[in-house]
């Protein structure tokens, strides 16, 4: 079974973001694997442990993404591939999906699995776009996944609850929290990962798709409405003040 896991490198949530003209200032940023992609890596490893085959971790970006690919190696990935793009228009999901789909096609992948969204853009687009580009089914927001032969059974989160769905390989899956508990790489794995090769692909190797997005600019978030702590003698006093503030000042209730 050939399993491709999508590994997106994103700034750690606790990192300060300094906004530049069309990109962020990368100085001092701590980069991590987007948390939902960790569920995807873990699921890929479990599928391989059960069914055999190989797990290929793939990441799109400049050379710093190799650090995330080494982490995927340390967790247990068999191969790591960097799609080397230095001046990628951020959040052009269709472009990313076309590159990844062309890679998946060349590998004849059975499963493509990624996080349900990345925490830098919250787009929830790429994995499903890859499925469409390959003409294969997808299951979004998977919280369980069972594969037997070419049969795929999955529970997915939907509005208001869950659904059990069935389809067949090849398939694309987006991982939701609850799918599994990602493992930590151990020291031995981390040491070994340092020496493993990272394959490099250029956009030209993968059909050179054109960008469909133009970045106009970045800006800091809008200022928050200044806050204040209320003062009251008791719970009733707080309640009266809050109701008044929310109804007469904020006018939201």
């Amino acid at each position: 079974m050939k399993i491709i896991v999508l590994v997106k490198q994103v700034p750690d949530t606790e990192t300060n973001i300094k906004v530049g003209d069309k990109s962020i200032n990368e100085a001092g940023i701590k980069w991590i694997i987007s948390p939902y992609d960790e569920f995807a890596i873990e699921e890929g490893l479990r599928l391989r442990e059960k069914h055999g085959g190989e797990v290929i971790a793939i990441s799109l970006g400049p050379d710093r993404v190799q650090e995330s690919l080494r982490q995927a190696y340390a967790m247990g990935a068999d191969r790591a591939v960097q799609i080397k793009v230095d001046n990628y228009v951020p959040f052009d999901t269709v472009l990313a999906a076309e590159l990844i789909a062309n890679f998946a096609k060349s590998e004849n992948a059975d499963i493509i699995i990624g996080g349900r969204q990345s925490i830098d853009s919250d787009s929830s687009q790429v994995v499903v776009q890859v499925a469409e580009a390959l003409g294969i089914p997808h299951v979004a927001f998977a919280v369980s996944l069972e594969i037997s032969g070419t049969n795929v059974k999955s529970t997915k989160e939907v509005e208001g609850g869950t659904q059990v769905v069935e389809t067949s390989l090849p398939v694309a899956i987006t991982a939701q929290k609850g799918l599994n508990e990602p493992r930590y790489p151990n020291l031995k794995g981390l040491m070994a990962a340092k020496k493993k090769p990272i394959e490099s692909k250029s956009p030209a190797d993968l059909g050179n798709p054109a960008s469909k997005i133009e970045i106009v600019g970045l800006e800091p978030p809008p200022p928050r409405i200044p806050g204040r702590k209320l003062e009251a003698a008791d719970a009733k006093g707080y309640a009266e003040q809050l109701v008044k503030a929310l109804r007469e000042e904020a006018k939201v209730i």
Partner: protein, 319 residues
């Protein structure tokens, strides 16, 4: 001619608020570009919503008969309508369903897409979409350069504006093809009465609620306000409530008008999911909790006293 097409959404046979929000947003864009607004509704018996969408600016409503939601089928149907109508701008809801089918639609029609948009404006004949990025620590402005520009729009981010359109109903019956994913069963008992990501008010609880037996205290307030019930990761990881209620980095991103955080300290991962709420109320015993840094109104107090008092007070004024 620069026409706008919006895709509406239903829930339990009712038109969702996001449908009106994006129709209003679509009207504004169409007026700036000199085009028409077509609203598409997929489902059964959806003709009856034509008037609702016309009232917020839809010039025509294309209805497509279909059974229960299936992302693959709906993507095919919607893409077929887009290909026929050839709009230059398409707005879709950034909802659970929207995230499931919109990526397929974009690829099918060869469009670039910007997802989770909170602001839409027009500059030089092109839509500029604003979206929060890096957990709301920056905002990005983007244009789509393909002939069809697609945007998924975050619920609660657009104002509903009454503006009459013609609202003519047209029925389309494109072929959907066979779905490769079969829905075996559905369990819709676990969720909120009010959908978390689309709620205009959220009452949310964290570690400070002390145990699952205390949710009724927050649910009582939520019921009075017609609010959804949210939770922090701490409360979910403790097993006090299902993950579907979680707000934050590994939970849902929400943008309500009012977010009432009860017993939530405000870890940065939580703020990442709710920081764009318009008004934030924090009720917490610890006056140094980081949640107070983002709170519009802070109450340093015991939620077990303040929340019931608040419920009573709202009952009184809301009757």
């Amino acid at each position: 001619m620069s026409n706008v097409l919006i895709v509406g959404e239903l829930k339990d046979g009712e038109l969702k608020k996001i449908s009106r929000e994006i129709t209003s947003a679509g009207r504004k864009i169409a007026d700036a570009l000199g085009g028409k607004v077509t609203a598409v509704l997929v489902g059964s018996g959806v003709d009856k919503f034509a008037g609702d969408l016309a009232a917020v600016g839809a010039d025509s409503i294309v209805t497509v008969n279909a059974g229960d939601f299936n992302a693959e089928t709906w993507a095919s149907l919607i893409a077929a309508v887009i290909k026929e109508k050839n709009p230059s701008v398409v707005l879709l809801p950034h909802t659970s369903q929207g995230k499931d089918y919109s990526p397929r639609v974009a690829v099918k029609v060869g469009a670039g897409i910007i997802a989770d948009v909170v602001g839409l404006s027009v500059d030089g004949g092109k839509v500029v979409a604003k979206k929060p990025i890096y957990s709301g620590k920056a905002y990005g402005n983007f244009k789509v350069t393909s002939p069809i520009a697609m945007f998924t729009v975050r619920p609660n981010s657009q104002e509903v504006v009454q503006k009459a359109g013609a609202g003519a109903v047209e029925t389309a019956s494109p072929a959907a093809g066979d779905a490769k994913v079969k829905i075996v069963s559905s369990d819709l008992s676990g969720g909120n009465k009010v959908q978390l990501t689309e709620a205009s008010i959220i009452v949310s609880g964290g570690r400070g609620i002390k145990g699952p037996e205390n949710w009724p205290i927050l649910q009582g307030l939520a019921d009075v306000l017609g609010a959804a019930l949210g939770a922090s990761r701490a409360a979910v990881d403790a097993g006090w409530i299902a993950h579907s209620h979680q707000v934050g980095q590994t939970g849902k991103t929400v943008s309500p008008n009012c977010y009432i955080a009860c017993g939530i300290s405000g870890a940065i991962q939580h703020l990442a999911g709710m920081g764009s709420s318009k008004y934030i109320v924090a009720i917490n015993k610890d006056g140094d909790a980081p949640i107070f840094k983002v709170a519009t109104y802070g109450v340093v107090g015991d939620l077990f006293e303040v929340v019931p008092a608040l419920t009573d007070e709202f009952k009184k004024v809301l009757g």
